[in-house]
Symmetry: C3
Subunit: 358 residues, 3 copies
């Protein structure tokens, strides 16, 4: 069974195909209005996320299908101690495809192990959020017409911002892409990101100066400094206003700059920027619906094919043992019977669910 847990589960060719389908849907929505008739999507949201959930639901309805599900953990069976794996096996009796949002890292992967319906990761804690990345990629493609030879600025909370990490991972597969990572020192990207970029021979810079970087950017990806990621509220209050985009900051920007934001925003982009034609974030929200339509179609089609192997089964680098993952945000810390599994690569041992080093 083919699932989408991590954006890297998709080859660049598959991403190109999804984008082509999304563009075709935008051009000919009526041809897709009945493609999923009689099919059901389950939206399993163990933590609330209105935008992502509504985007999935709108996508399924525009394909002619139906939606069942829940929008927070309190209304789910997990409150009674059920494993995500059991939840998904149960849901597989009622729906044809599922999207899962979970507060624990690795939960969708853990859930997918035995699933006989395709599962889409709709965000697992601070870990992955591949449909956001697909949305970002469709937006870049529609605004820029290409993925290569772009200077991509990423601004705000780069430490905890999973959408940023995934976008860097996805864009690093294209030629001539250059990253400018703009954040306060305390919120820089984790060290594995520059390591990965160096390995791939890609150009990047880290800076805390948005204004200095502005003139060089083709894309400016703004992110929210999320209150819920801070344990210290004072630290949050000190930093949250550091990187607010206002019209006067855009004076030196390129005319063809594209400003993206995963939304919701708080105040990191001033409302006055909305009327600037370079502001793409509401178009981006709309693209989110279309790429999810393409993805649902793609996975339902793949589900017909046999032989897709589940999750990490058959991966020779994976060892199963009794060790416990040290990451308190990992799904393996709350599920008793989940097989403990670690991937050994380059002398390092990482939990297969959350990918933290063990």
């Amino acid at each position: 069974m083919k699932h989408l847990i991590d954006i890297l589960d998709l080859s660049t060719q598959e991403i190109d195909e999804l984008i082509a389908v999304a563009n075709d849907i935008i051009a000919h929505p009526e041809s897709y209005a009945h493609r999923c008739e009689g099919k059901k999507l389950a939206t399993l949201f163990f933590e609330p996320s209105t935008r992502t959930r509504l985007s999935f639901e709108a996508a399924m309805y525009e394909l002619g299908g139906h939606v069942i599900g829940f929008s927070d953990a309190a209304n789910s069976s997990s409150a009674k101690g059920e494993s995500v794996n059991d939840t998904l096996q149960m849901v597989g009796c009622y729906a044809d495809i599922a999207a899962m949002r979970h507060f624990k890292e690795g939960a969708p992967l853990a859930a997918a192990v035995k699933s006989h319906i395709p599962l889409i990761n709709a965000g697992d804690g601070g870990h992955y959020h591949p449909t956001q990345t697909l949305t970002d990629l469709l937006t870049i493609q529609r605004e820029k017409g290409r993925f290569d030879h772009l200077t991509v600025g990423l601004c705000g909370d780069l430490k905890y911002g999973r959408t940023v990490h995934s976008l860097i991972a996805a864009m690093s597969r294209y030629e001539g892409v250059r990253f400018v990572m703009i954040s306060p020192r305390e919120l820089r990207v984790p060290s594995y990101v520059p390591e990965m970029l160096r390995e791939k021979g890609l150009r990047y810079e880290e800076t805390d100066d948005l204004d200095a970087a502005m003139p060089y950017l083709d894309i400016l990806y703004m992110t929210r400094i999320q209150k819920e990621r801070f344990s210290d509220e004072k630290e949050y209050l000190r930093l949250k206003d550091s990187y607010i985009l206002t019209p006067d900051r855009l004076v030196n920007a390129k005319a063809e700059l594209s400003i993206l934001h995963p939304l919701p925003r708080v105040n990191e982009i001033s409302v006055a920027v909305d009327d600037d034609p370079r502001a793409c974030y509401f178009r981006q929200a709309l693209n989110g619906k279309y790429i999810r339509m393409a993805l649902i179609l793609h996975l339902l089609e793949k589900a017909q094919e046999k032989g897709n192997s589940a999750a990490f089964a058959g991966d020779k680098d994976v060892v199963f043992d009794a060790a416990v993952c040290n990451n308190p945000r990992c799904i393996s810390t709350i599920e008793q019977e989940l097989p403990r599994a670690f991937r050994v690569r380059g002398g390092k041992r990482r939990c297969v669910y959350c990918e933290c080093e063990a």
Copy 2:
């Protein structure tokens, strides 16, 4: 874009048309069963209201459309600090029309400012609830066959009862209507209501004696004394039983009296009254579905037309300045970037969102 924020956004002619369409839907439901095929309604309920939400959802389904949304604030992006305006712009990517319930006064108006889909106010705090008023009007029309020359009794909590205020505003546009406002002294209508009625030259009385008023009424509109409106629980307990309708109180009522109630009731109408043919409140709940069907059709049709201006844009009496609204229940008190705006009329300055005097 045409929205419905306040019942007075609709002319009496528009209300007549909506009622005519609702009556036609009741007579020929099958002709309407596919009118909204492929369309989506978003129900954005920042505070729970089962009846209103289910009524909207049933309406959309009976028109052949779909529904997405959320049923409480905890499951919405607002928990992350998003403005209602951003929420509605986002939702506009996923739905064709939206209904919003919010705990803050003026929230739907604030949300509608930039919306490119029609928005229906489904209740904003103690402020407006125009679809309830439309429901009441359809019920009066169906039960009485007319709006003019009726004696309308309003009983219970007239101070905080927004459905009462809106019904008075709507009915005061018809000829020969007389209001009997029955409540304990502490829960009388706000002073602007009698002022408005005097200005319009309409007859009204204020009394605390339900039994004395009973024989004269064509309509008796009962309301719940809402616990959540009282800061002092003792005061609530003392007053809540003051105006309970029982079968023996109806002995002196007209044979053709119509008893309305917006529901839910607690105990202000005894269950024993339900079997009286003069009890209209469950028929009223049913009418709520039909008038919402008519309204959804009307606003979707209007959305095709160009040139409808948004909200208070272009209103020459509106001034924008930095002053803050004094009403703690106003949406402007919780949204940082909402333009502060006041309407100046007759020497008074009122917040455009909540209409409180500033």
Copy 3:
């Protein structure tokens, strides 16, 4: 109006018919895909239950209908003090059939009294859960081909496990059925169960030894020891692991044993048992959808017929008086205007709602 409150509301003939329809749906799903077009199911969940709710919703969608409703009490009008009877009368304006889950015993019966749409009890506290029993019966029929002459083991929490009580009641109507009730002494079935079995002349045993009972069983019905039923957490922790099913315990079981579980499970069945062909519980979850489809069709058909009497109206053994039910979990303890009613039979007086002795 025909409702389903208690599994014994259905004759064995009606159950046979429902099972026959469910089997026909499984064989020919396409013939049922449009049966409920234009119809709406209301799912009224005053306490969360994902599985049951999703199962009902999937059932309605696979019949071509729509679903409205709520998934917890916080989002319902009951938070404002509305009676379940009023809720159902209101919902009857918006939906064609309803399923209710409630935390109070007898709530669905109380709600059904005046309803003009069919109501399905989707679980009322620790009292009834007839659609789970129908699910269990369909599973037994599909796995075993018959209901008579079976040895049925019931294991776990037999004291509070309402699914167990209902299954025993339903199976006790078939010939030659023998029950083996396996539980710690503290969690044995209530005394009325063995009394009822003795009255009917059925064979049964009570034991605390799962391993000794295993070789004789045709069916093993496992249940969760539910944390929420214990007031003392230590007692819960001491007992919860007592009856865990593992592969080695199945060594002496029959080759054609069928293992059932209402789900969700916590750890009472080891995940390692899932791959055993005797494990039926995920097939059982799937059967839950099909039997609910059959039930919805059955009740909607019956709703066309006139003359079905509501609830306990016309029951000569029922007396109405002012006495209050002693059971704190009974719906009559929280609803002011609900008629107090008791059924007198065999010298005993039982509350009609919760059936507790008064």
